[in-house]
Amino acid sequence: MNLWLFAAFGLLLALAPCAAICLRGAAIDRLVGLELAGILDSLLFVCLAEGTGRTSFLDVALATGLLTFGGGLVFARFLERWL
């Protein structure tokens, strides 16, 4: 275990409140939890990339960030127009 893997573990713990937000409340509250989880996921993959020495995980972090953007916008638009 190095510093980066400890940081990744800490970020993994921070995902638990996001899961709690996503599991209860109104749809818009769940969306906020999902967006926060996406941000934390990107940082988690950066820490994993440095901790394991596999820089290809940085591409996963980049892809996660982009998908969070697309998903967040689509969900927000859907909730605004249809629900």
Partner: protein
Amino acid sequence: MTLANVVVAVLLALAVGLCVLCAFGALVMRDPLQRLHFLAPPASLSAFLVVAAVLIYDHHDWQAAMKTLLVAVMLTLINAVVTHATARAALHHLAARRQAQVPAQVPVVDLEGEPIGEAQVGRGERPAEDVSPWI
């Protein structure tokens, strides 16, 4: 443990601590608009703290540093757009909920458009003065 490792540990501890605090902060808030405030610190501050840690720890690998910087810049820019869109959707939801809860007297007209009385719409669960303009 070298000085660089200590600095990296401090930067990572700050970044992770901020993320954990914001995650719990978002959990305890009642309103989606309040929850949205807790998205900004991980997306901006924590991301750049991690970039600084990568630059110090992995200073010989510029590709990794640049990719991490790209992730941080992307998170910062994207967060502003997504937060705005989500806040708009949340405001629509809250306004609709408020409209359904507050009783309102609307005029009732006959087929010729002449007023014949008033009717109450909305479920009437809360008095109008009890509802803030945002909820």
